[in-house]
Amino acid sequence: MEGNIADGMKYLGAGLATIGAIGGAIGVGNIFGSFLDGALRNPSAAPAQTGNLFVGAALAEALGLFSIVLGFVILFAAP
Protein backbone atom coordinates (compact mmCIF):
# COMPACT_ATOMS: atom_id res chain seq x y z
CA MET A 1 0.00 0.00 0.00
CA GLU A 2 1.18 3.48 -0.85
CA GLY A 3 0.65 6.80 0.87
CA ASN A 4 0.61 7.34 4.58
CA ILE A 5 -1.96 6.52 7.21
CA ALA A 6 -2.54 10.17 8.18
CA ASP A 7 -3.77 10.99 4.66
CA GLY A 8 -6.05 7.98 4.63
CA MET A 9 -7.46 8.92 8.01
CA LYS A 10 -8.08 12.44 6.67
CA TYR A 11 -10.27 11.13 3.86
CA LEU A 12 -11.99 8.76 6.26
CA GLY A 13 -12.66 11.61 8.66
CA ALA A 14 -14.03 13.83 5.89
CA GLY A 15 -16.34 11.04 4.81
CA LEU A 16 -17.53 10.43 8.35
CA ALA A 17 -18.13 14.15 8.91
CA THR A 18 -20.54 14.33 5.98
CA ILE A 19 -22.79 11.69 7.60
CA GLY A 20 -24.26 14.62 9.53
CA ALA A 21 -25.95 15.75 6.30
CA ILE A 22 -28.51 12.99 6.94
CA GLY A 23 -29.85 15.06 9.82
CA GLY A 24 -30.27 18.10 7.61
CA ALA A 25 -32.00 15.99 4.97
CA ILE A 26 -34.47 14.59 7.50
CA GLY A 27 -35.13 18.07 8.84
CA VAL A 28 -35.74 19.71 5.46
CA GLY A 29 -37.87 16.80 4.29
CA ASN A 30 -39.91 16.97 7.45
CA ILE A 31 -40.50 20.72 7.09
CA PHE A 32 -41.63 20.58 3.46
CA GLY A 33 -43.68 17.45 4.08
CA SER A 34 -45.48 19.02 7.01
CA PHE A 35 -46.00 22.21 5.02
CA LEU A 36 -47.65 20.30 2.17
CA ASP A 37 -49.71 18.36 4.72
CA GLY A 38 -51.03 21.56 6.19
CA ALA A 39 -51.28 23.41 2.88
CA LEU A 40 -53.46 20.74 1.30
CA ARG A 41 -55.79 20.75 4.28
CA ASN A 42 -56.19 24.51 4.22
CA PRO A 43 -54.84 25.94 0.95
CA SER A 44 -56.05 29.45 1.70
CA ALA A 45 -53.72 29.75 4.69
CA ALA A 46 -50.67 28.41 2.82
CA PRO A 47 -49.31 31.55 1.08
CA ALA A 48 -48.97 33.38 4.40
CA GLN A 49 -46.69 30.64 5.71
CA THR A 50 -44.18 30.42 2.86
CA GLY A 51 -41.87 32.84 4.68
CA ASN A 52 -41.86 30.59 7.74
CA LEU A 53 -41.40 27.60 5.47
CA PHE A 54 -38.23 28.92 3.89
CA VAL A 55 -36.80 30.20 7.16
CA GLY A 56 -37.40 26.81 8.75
CA ALA A 57 -35.94 25.00 5.77
CA ALA A 58 -32.89 27.25 5.76
CA LEU A 59 -32.36 26.76 9.48
CA ALA A 60 -32.51 22.98 9.14
CA GLU A 61 -30.47 22.94 5.93
CA ALA A 62 -27.69 24.98 7.53
CA LEU A 63 -27.12 22.32 10.16
CA GLY A 64 -26.62 19.70 7.47
CA LEU A 65 -24.31 22.05 5.57
CA PHE A 66 -22.17 22.56 8.68
CA SER A 67 -21.17 18.92 8.50
CA ILE A 68 -20.36 19.23 4.79
CA VAL A 69 -18.19 22.26 5.49
CA LEU A 70 -16.53 20.34 8.30
CA GLY A 71 -15.72 17.65 5.75
CA PHE A 72 -14.23 20.26 3.38
CA VAL A 73 -12.22 21.78 6.21
CA ILE A 74 -10.77 18.37 7.09
CA LEU A 75 -9.97 17.70 3.43
CA PHE A 76 -8.52 21.03 2.33
CA ALA A 77 -7.91 23.36 5.25
CA ALA A 78 -6.63 21.11 8.03
CA PRO A 79 -2.84 21.20 8.47
Partner: protein
Protein backbone atom coordinates in the same frame (compact mmCIF):
# COMPACT_ATOMS: atom_id res chain seq x y z
CA UNK B 1 -3.00 19.11 -5.16
CA UNK B 2 -1.44 16.93 -7.79
CA UNK B 3 -1.28 17.98 -11.43
CA UNK B 4 -4.50 17.47 -13.35
CA UNK B 5 -6.45 16.59 -10.22
CA UNK B 6 -9.77 18.28 -9.55
CA UNK B 7 -9.20 21.22 -7.24
CA UNK B 8 -12.57 22.65 -6.18
CA UNK B 9 -11.04 25.00 -3.61
CA UNK B 10 -8.99 27.00 -6.09
CA UNK B 11 -11.91 29.28 -7.01
CA UNK B 12 -11.95 30.72 -3.49
CA UNK B 13 -8.34 31.86 -3.53
CA UNK B 14 -7.78 35.51 -2.70
CA UNK B 15 -5.29 37.07 -5.08
CA UNK B 16 -3.75 40.49 -4.64
CA UNK B 17 -4.19 42.99 -7.46
CA UNK B 18 -2.38 45.89 -5.84
CA UNK B 19 -0.31 45.48 -2.69
CA UNK B 20 -0.99 48.25 -0.16
CA UNK B 21 0.32 48.75 3.33
CA UNK B 22 -0.99 51.09 6.02
CA UNK B 23 1.25 51.25 9.06
CA UNK B 24 1.79 47.51 9.24
CA UNK B 25 -1.80 46.66 8.27
CA UNK B 26 -2.16 44.76 5.05
CA UNK B 27 -4.88 46.60 3.13
CA UNK B 28 -4.00 45.23 -0.31
CA UNK B 29 -6.55 45.62 -3.05
CA UNK B 30 -7.54 42.00 -3.71
CA UNK B 31 -10.09 40.31 -5.92
CA UNK B 32 -12.31 40.03 -2.82
CA UNK B 33 -12.23 43.80 -2.39
CA UNK B 34 -12.89 44.31 -6.10
CA UNK B 35 -15.94 42.04 -6.10
CA UNK B 36 -17.28 43.59 -2.89
CA UNK B 37 -17.00 47.02 -4.54
CA UNK B 38 -18.65 45.63 -7.66
CA UNK B 39 -21.56 44.25 -5.60
CA UNK B 40 -22.19 47.53 -3.77
CA UNK B 41 -21.66 49.49 -6.99
CA UNK B 42 -24.24 47.38 -8.81
CA UNK B 43 -26.80 47.90 -6.07
CA UNK B 44 -26.21 51.66 -6.03
CA UNK B 45 -26.34 51.86 -9.84
CA UNK B 46 -29.52 49.79 -10.03
CA UNK B 47 -31.41 51.81 -7.45
CA UNK B 48 -30.26 55.18 -8.72
CA UNK B 49 -31.60 54.16 -12.13
CA UNK B 50 -34.74 52.56 -10.71
CA UNK B 51 -35.73 55.33 -8.32
CA UNK B 52 -36.95 57.86 -10.86
CA UNK B 53 -40.45 58.91 -9.88
CA UNK B 54 -42.36 58.79 -13.14
CA UNK B 55 -46.16 58.68 -12.84
CA UNK B 56 -46.30 55.61 -15.06
CA UNK B 57 -43.42 53.41 -13.92
CA UNK B 58 -41.23 51.78 -16.56
CA UNK B 59 -39.79 48.31 -16.22
CA UNK B 60 -36.83 49.34 -14.11
CA UNK B 61 -38.90 51.53 -11.82
CA UNK B 62 -41.47 48.76 -11.35
CA UNK B 63 -38.68 46.42 -10.31
CA UNK B 64 -37.45 49.00 -7.83
CA UNK B 65 -40.94 49.47 -6.42
CA UNK B 66 -41.52 45.72 -6.18
CA UNK B 67 -38.28 45.27 -4.26
CA UNK B 68 -39.25 48.12 -1.92
CA UNK B 69 -42.65 46.53 -1.25
CA UNK B 70 -41.05 43.11 -0.81
CA UNK B 71 -38.72 44.22 1.97
CA UNK B 72 -41.32 46.50 3.57
CA UNK B 73 -43.80 43.60 3.76
CA UNK B 74 -41.13 41.34 5.17
CA UNK B 75 -40.39 43.79 7.98
CA UNK B 76 -44.08 44.51 8.63
CA UNK B 77 -44.97 40.83 8.96
CA UNK B 78 -42.06 39.88 11.21
CA UNK B 79 -41.06 42.97 13.23
CA UNK B 80 -44.30 44.99 13.09
CA UNK B 81 -44.89 48.60 12.08
CA UNK B 82 -42.23 50.03 14.40
CA UNK B 83 -39.64 47.85 12.68
CA UNK B 84 -40.04 49.94 9.53
CA UNK B 85 -37.67 52.50 11.08
CA UNK B 86 -34.88 50.06 10.31
CA UNK B 87 -36.03 49.51 6.73
CA UNK B 88 -32.90 51.05 5.11
CA UNK B 89 -30.61 48.70 7.01
CA UNK B 90 -32.50 45.51 6.09
CA UNK B 91 -32.97 46.72 2.52
CA UNK B 92 -29.26 47.42 2.03
CA UNK B 93 -28.29 44.16 3.68
CA UNK B 94 -30.62 42.10 1.50
CA UNK B 95 -29.60 43.68 -1.79
CA UNK B 96 -25.90 43.67 -0.99
CA UNK B 97 -25.96 39.94 -0.17
CA UNK B 98 -28.17 39.22 -3.18
CA UNK B 99 -25.81 41.10 -5.50
CA UNK B 100 -22.74 39.39 -4.03
CA UNK B 101 -24.37 35.95 -4.34
CA UNK B 102 -25.53 36.53 -7.91
CA UNK B 103 -22.18 37.92 -9.06
CA UNK B 104 -20.65 34.72 -7.72
CA UNK B 105 -22.85 32.72 -10.09
CA UNK B 106 -20.96 34.03 -13.13
CA UNK B 107 -18.26 31.64 -14.31
CA UNK B 108 -14.77 32.67 -13.16
CA UNK B 109 -16.27 35.27 -10.84
CA UNK B 110 -15.21 35.42 -7.22
CA UNK B 111 -17.92 34.73 -4.62
CA UNK B 112 -17.31 37.10 -1.75
CA UNK B 113 -20.05 35.59 0.41
CA UNK B 114 -18.30 32.22 0.35
CA UNK B 115 -15.68 33.68 2.67
CA UNK B 116 -16.53 33.48 6.33
CA UNK B 117 -14.82 36.79 7.07
CA UNK B 118 -17.32 38.62 4.83
CA UNK B 119 -20.41 36.88 6.21
CA UNK B 120 -18.96 37.08 9.71
CA UNK B 121 -18.64 40.85 9.54
CA UNK B 122 -22.20 41.15 8.19
CA UNK B 123 -23.52 38.91 10.95
CA UNK B 124 -21.59 40.76 13.66
CA UNK B 125 -22.98 44.06 12.37
CA UNK B 126 -26.51 42.71 12.67
CA UNK B 127 -25.83 41.23 16.11
CA UNK B 128 -24.24 44.41 17.51
CA UNK B 129 -26.95 46.64 16.07
CA UNK B 130 -29.77 44.45 17.37
CA UNK B 131 -28.22 44.20 20.83
CA UNK B 132 -27.70 47.98 21.04
CA UNK B 133 -31.25 48.68 19.82
CA UNK B 134 -32.59 46.25 22.40
CA UNK B 135 -30.66 47.83 25.27
CA UNK B 136 -31.37 51.45 24.29
CA UNK B 137 -35.07 50.86 23.62
CA UNK B 138 -35.90 48.76 26.68
CA UNK B 139 -33.17 49.32 29.24
CA UNK B 140 -33.19 46.50 31.76
CA UNK B 141 -36.46 45.26 30.28
CA UNK B 142 -34.36 43.86 27.44
CA UNK B 143 -33.23 41.07 29.79
CA UNK B 144 -36.79 39.68 29.61
CA UNK B 145 -35.66 38.31 26.24
CA UNK B 146 -33.79 35.60 28.13
CA UNK B 147 -36.71 34.78 30.43
CA UNK B 148 -39.94 34.24 28.50
CA UNK B 149 -43.05 34.81 30.61
CA UNK B 150 -45.78 32.28 31.37
CA UNK B 151 -43.83 29.26 32.53
CA UNK B 152 -43.39 27.81 36.03
CA UNK B 153 -40.29 29.22 37.74
CA UNK B 154 -38.18 26.01 38.11
CA UNK B 155 -37.95 25.86 34.33
CA UNK B 156 -36.06 29.16 34.32
CA UNK B 157 -32.99 27.48 35.86
CA UNK B 158 -32.73 25.40 32.70
CA UNK B 159 -34.19 27.83 30.18
CA UNK B 160 -32.24 31.02 30.89
CA UNK B 161 -28.79 29.52 30.17
CA UNK B 162 -30.14 27.96 26.98
CA UNK B 163 -31.63 31.29 25.87
CA UNK B 164 -28.36 33.10 26.61
CA UNK B 165 -26.30 30.54 24.68
CA UNK B 166 -28.69 30.61 21.73
CA UNK B 167 -28.57 34.42 21.73
CA UNK B 168 -24.80 34.48 21.47
CA UNK B 169 -24.80 31.70 18.89
CA UNK B 170 -26.88 33.92 16.59
CA UNK B 171 -24.04 35.72 14.78
CA UNK B 172 -22.22 32.42 14.42
CA UNK B 173 -25.13 30.59 12.82
CA UNK B 174 -26.08 33.61 10.74
CA UNK B 175 -22.57 33.85 9.31
CA UNK B 176 -22.13 30.12 8.91
CA UNK B 177 -25.42 29.56 7.12
CA UNK B 178 -24.66 31.97 4.29
CA UNK B 179 -21.00 30.96 4.10
CA UNK B 180 -21.70 27.21 4.14
CA UNK B 181 -24.47 27.45 1.55
CA UNK B 182 -22.39 29.42 -0.91
CA UNK B 183 -19.23 27.38 -0.33
CA UNK B 184 -20.95 24.01 -0.60
CA UNK B 185 -22.92 25.09 -3.67
CA UNK B 186 -19.88 26.33 -5.56
CA UNK B 187 -17.76 23.32 -4.66
CA UNK B 188 -20.57 21.01 -5.76
CA UNK B 189 -20.90 22.81 -9.11
CA UNK B 190 -17.17 22.68 -9.70
CA UNK B 191 -16.98 18.97 -8.85
CA UNK B 192 -19.87 18.08 -11.15
CA UNK B 193 -18.53 20.09 -14.08
CA UNK B 194 -15.03 18.66 -13.58
CA UNK B 195 -16.54 15.19 -13.53
CA UNK B 196 -18.31 15.90 -16.83
CA UNK B 197 -15.02 16.96 -18.42
CA UNK B 198 -13.34 13.84 -17.06
CA UNK B 199 -16.08 11.56 -18.42
CA UNK B 200 -15.68 12.96 -21.94
CA UNK B 201 -12.33 11.17 -22.27
CA UNK B 202 -13.88 7.71 -21.96
CA UNK B 203 -15.25 7.23 -25.47
CA UNK B 204 -18.90 6.53 -26.26
CA UNK B 205 -19.93 5.57 -22.71
CA UNK B 206 -18.21 8.72 -21.54
CA UNK B 207 -20.24 10.88 -23.93
CA UNK B 208 -23.50 9.51 -22.51
CA UNK B 209 -22.19 10.15 -19.02
CA UNK B 210 -21.10 13.65 -19.94
CA UNK B 211 -24.49 14.49 -21.40
CA UNK B 212 -26.21 13.33 -18.23
CA UNK B 213 -23.77 15.15 -15.99
CA UNK B 214 -23.99 18.40 -17.94
CA UNK B 215 -27.79 18.23 -17.75
CA UNK B 216 -27.46 17.78 -14.02
CA UNK B 217 -25.00 20.68 -13.82
CA UNK B 218 -27.55 22.92 -15.56
CA UNK B 219 -30.24 21.86 -13.09
CA UNK B 220 -27.92 22.48 -10.14
CA UNK B 221 -26.97 25.90 -11.52
CA UNK B 222 -30.67 26.75 -11.53
CA UNK B 223 -30.88 25.48 -7.95
CA UNK B 224 -27.90 27.64 -7.02
CA UNK B 225 -29.66 30.75 -8.34
CA UNK B 226 -32.57 29.85 -6.06
CA UNK B 227 -30.17 29.34 -3.15
CA UNK B 228 -28.47 32.68 -3.87
CA UNK B 229 -31.83 34.43 -3.55
CA UNK B 230 -33.05 32.29 -0.68
CA UNK B 231 -29.97 32.85 1.46
CA UNK B 232 -30.18 36.61 1.02
CA UNK B 233 -33.87 36.35 1.94
CA UNK B 234 -33.17 34.20 4.98
CA UNK B 235 -30.40 36.54 6.15
CA UNK B 236 -32.75 39.51 5.84
CA UNK B 237 -35.74 37.81 7.45
CA UNK B 238 -33.64 36.58 10.37
CA UNK B 239 -32.39 40.13 10.83
CA UNK B 240 -36.07 41.16 11.01
CA UNK B 241 -36.79 38.43 13.55
CA UNK B 242 -33.87 39.58 15.70
CA UNK B 243 -35.03 43.18 15.34
CA UNK B 244 -38.48 42.13 16.48
CA UNK B 245 -36.90 40.45 19.52
CA UNK B 246 -34.99 43.64 20.30
CA UNK B 247 -38.07 45.86 19.90
CA UNK B 248 -40.49 43.64 21.81
CA UNK B 249 -38.58 41.46 24.30
CA UNK B 250 -40.60 39.21 26.56
CA UNK B 251 -42.99 38.04 23.87
Amino acid sequence: MADGAIDPIHQFEVTTYQALDLGGWDISFTNAAAYLLLASGLVIAFFSLASRSAMVPGRLQSLGEISYEFIANMIRSTAGEDGLKYFPFVFTLFFFILAANLIGMFPYAFTTTSHIIVTGVLAMTVFTLVTLIGIFKNGFGWLKLFAPSGIPWPIYILLVPIEIISYFARPLTLAFRLFANMLAGHIMLKLIVSFAALMATFGLVGWVGTTLTVTMAVAITALEFLVAFLQAYVFAILTCVYLSDALHPGH
